[in-house]
Symmetry: C2
Subunit: 557 residues, 2 copies
């Protein structure tokens, strides 16, 4: 009970700020009202009809719509390639005042130390970043990851970070359904906190079992029926609209008059350029309204609903006592941003740049790549068939003598933590690479070094280019670097500003045409080629992996 | 994570119980589906299409509608005159499997010891009783209460009962708005738990200030506009439909497609006979549907919504992992109860009677009553005007020589805790008493002994009759007891069963006609005549009290 706030609400004391002349979106009632808002001490004091005598400073909103600060229910900050501080500056300008982040990527690279870094750097962000403890580090034992977080480490993280909100997306569905002890112990470590899920397998009794285990959200639905079944089972439905997976349009029919308060938006994985161009949650609002959703309901899904699900008190609405996180937009169609207030203070960008922090070692073995050739009697090859913007792949089988004709390239996964120097070799189609190589240290989930090339020398040059930056992405050709983006923070992130990174992303994706690559955003697609929990054929540093068989499989046979 | 439940959900192990052939009401999606429900270990394992091979025991629901067990968001168990164990048996038969109770009445009589008794006796109830720590003991210093719970006592109660859900309805609105230190300290003692409010004063800046203070629910709204304003300010709206205050029909228009997930039903104060005849939450469902509300939405307001507001995890829905509290009803109009399951077990009444527990001393001073007469020069008298079923009163002023003609009776409030022997004397109209007396130890909030009579001797006999029972209610005439109900537990409750108490209520209310009383349910109305926080003219043991002036006022002048 804050007596000053009460005094301001009652008019016994002037508010710091009066936002006048706006149209206030009330997510509790669905009403849009021409009302004024008093802000004081970082909170909303009252919503009503007030005058200039009620505040020290009066801001005329000139008919703008005033929304609660937007909340992203689930995001991996690392996927933006920005550090938390840099990410925070970028999304706050787009109206996002709070995110619930799962530092799953850095945890796979650097373990608890990486998570501690994320927590510390979040303090440098101008908005609020809440974390979940990643549950799946590593997701499988089929690859060499930079770190392992077992149940003891999970408990220790909750002890060290009591402010962490819950357990991040539990991906080990077989572990849950099989009653795996380590998985159960991690879930237990979360206590009464929410357990996020990752359940891409449809529904039925498996879904019932997964929710019976206590997992209360999911962001993997790809059809409205699947979303509705998850809601029916008591899950909160996180509707994902990021840079790779885009499920918003498909899932909107699952949002009904009954279910809407348990539906949220999330970006999951979003690039710097998408944040810059479209916004993260703002993009969800625009699209939801474009697809016919009531604007206030859409706002609710990006504000109060995630706050409720994750137990964030007095956040996500414009109401007395609520955090004074607000966004003024020109209308409820384009949601053109006019101003953002965080903790009652108008946000103005600071042009300062953070210091460059190196984080996480990057050690290749130094051995040259030697892509294997078919041996006597091996006539066919297993080939990963990649699709633009898809994280799933198909398994193709070709005669070994037709590989060049089919446009098949080589894929390398080089262990980069200095643990064993493993290199996994695979064949892949769908990128259209004709010369040169691309390499990236962003390779879900273990983030070893991924290289796409047609010969070992180009592959090695690309690998060395990335390693020399301490991680990042590079496009090379004939021993020349065409474009690069250094990601020295754990090989995943940079603390450069969003414009700089977006420009580097643009150059990377632009220069790949010189390599014959026809696929849009090839680095994004490439980054999932080493993820052995998503079907069907993937490559880890330990070899070619058949996800459906959940075992390694030979390259040639 | 309960691996047995997972095994049952997956079909690897038989469930204890299969509820087959029912229509399952899903409060998440609003759907009503012909599905089966597997129960195991007190929880729902799965909802789907199952067969007799899936369970040890199959129950054929024969088309019944299956609802989650009902939840009352706010009730004072003491007002039913039943102990928690007895109350629990009564409401469970009517489908209520969980209540959030504020032991405000017994706290005013017996302080923390009374609350401890309520917590202990809740363990004897066959359903779940969650408590709030009462915030207003006493509500004012204008009367002698049996106990005081200051902020230190409040902190100690939260320490001793960490399972208590929050702070019970904060009635001291001036204390909140004025920043009273003790009120603030009690609110602080609740930590992050919900703070219930009691805000009968409309809206505007006072309401903003009250919610800015952190109070998040209210059950005092008497118009839809008032309810909507509370919702708009971020409060959860508790729609009350009890034995005295009935706001359901009035408030239903405040429940919209947007706001419904923040609306709940509550009984607040309900009699044994109303529970027996109509049910508590069942009555709300029936009425809401009769007034045109969608049935599933009504169910939601009596199940998942209060569970969400009070942070009761995995309760209030029929979904995997949720508590197996279920109610089978014949239809969604009359909601005729067929069966109730608590923790997965079909409830069957146990005809055993609890032992009679005396609780709380009952000590009158022994001095005879001496109703004051007007002195020289006093020509007018202030008279409480009571209305059937209303807790508010009006103040009438009559010439002292016309009191008999006006049908004015005497009202006595005798301090009953042996603290000071105070007797307050007042005049009251509206009951129609012509002879005899009625007396009751249920007298909000301090629960001193209230007596309505036309002369001191009848008043004293009625008082002695109640005192001899250790508390309760009595109707007497000419030195004879016409009807009585012993409430030996703190002078408020009995552990008799609901039928016995309802029959005693019936006899009490029936016999008053022999006294000329024409008011229906006079004991209910009487019980609020000593409540100095509700307008306008009331009587405490310290004298006649003008609530609007918030001061004592003379009887004659």
């Amino acid at each position: 009970m804050d007596i000053t706030l009460i005094d301001v609400a009652l008019g016994r004391k002037k508010a710091e700020t009066l936002l006048a002349g706006g149209r206030v979106v009330n997510v509790f009632t669905g009403e849009i009202e021409e009302k004024d808002v008093l802000l004081h001490g970082g909170r909303v004091a009252a919503v009503g009809d007030f005058g200039s005598a009620d505040a020290e400073t009066v801001v005329d909103l000139d008919g703008a719509y005033l929304l609660p600060g937007l909340i992203d229910a689930h995001v991996h900050i690392e996927s933006s390639h920005m550090t938390p501080a840099s990410f925070g500056r970028a999304v706050l300008e787009k109206g996002t005042t709070t995110v619930i982040a799962d530092p799953h990527e850095i945890a796979n690279v650097a373990g608890a130390a990486g998570i501690d870094f994320m927590a510390a750097d979040a303090q440098n962000a101008p908005m609020d970043i809440f974390y979940m403890v990643p549950s799946s580090v590593p997701a499988t034992d089929k690859e060499t990851a930079g770190a392992v977080l077992d149940s003891a480490a999970t408990r220790e993280l909750f002890r060290r970070h009591p402010e962490f909100l819950g357990l991040g997306e539990v991906m080990n569905v077989p572990g849950v359904l099989g009653g795996d002890g380590e998985t159960a112990a991690k879930m237990k470590a979360a206590g009464e906190r929410p357990l996020d899920g990752h359940f891409p397998l449809g529904g039925g009794r498996e879904l019932a079992a997964f929710t019976a285990a206590g997992i209360s959200s999911d962001h993997e639905s790809v059809s409205a029926a699947e979303g509705a079944e998850k809601l029916a089972n008591g899950m909160t439905l996180l509707i994902r609209e990021g840079s790779s997976a885009r499920n918003l349009e498909t899932l909107l029919p699952a949002v009904s008059d009954h279910s809407h308060s348990r539906c949220c938006f999330c970006a999951d994985d979003i690039s710097a350029s998408d944040i810059l161009t479209h916004g993260d949650m703002l993009n969800c609002l625009k699209k939801a309204v474009a697809f016919g959703m009531d604007a206030v309901r859409a706002v609710e899904m990006a504000t109060i609903n995630p706050a409720r699900h994750y137990g964030l008190k007095r956040r996500g609405a414009i109401a007395p006592g609520y955090l004074a996180d607000l966004v003024a937009v020109g209308d409820l169609v384009d949601f053109e941003i006019r101003n953002v207030w965080k903790n009652g203070v108008l946000y103005r960008r600071e042009e300062t740049r953070g210091e460059e922090r190196r984080f996480g070692a990057f050690r290749l073995s130094g051995e040259p790549f030697r892509f294997p050739l078919p041996r006597e009697g091996e006539t066919r090859a297993a080939v990963i068939r990649a699709f633009p913007g898809q994280i799933i792949t198909e398994k193709a089988v070709y005669p070994v003598d037709s590989l060049a004709k089919q446009g098949v390239s080589r894929l390398y996964v080089a262990e980069r933590y200095g643990k064993n120097g493993n290199v996994g070799y695979g064949l892949i189609e769908g990128f259209g690479l004709t010369s040169g190589a691309i390499a990236s240290s962003v390779a879900h989930d273990s983030h070893n070094l991924l290289i796409l090339a047609n010969d070992d020398d180009e592959a090695m040059f690309a690998a060395e280019t990335v390693a020399a930056m301490g991680g990042g992405m590079a496009v090379v050709k004939n021993g020349r670097v065409l474009a690069e983006m250094a990601l020295p923070v754990a090989g995943l992130m940079s603390d450069e500003d969003v414009e700089t990174l977006a420009e580097k992303e643009r150059r990377l994706n632009g220069s790949v045409s010189e390599l014959g690559i026809s696929m849009a955003a090839p680095f994004m697609t490439l980054s999932f080629m080493a993820l052995p929990v998503v079907a069907k054929l993937k490559l880890t540093d330990r070899g070619l992996f058949d996800v459906e068989q959940f075992d390694f499989t030979p390259l040639y046979f």
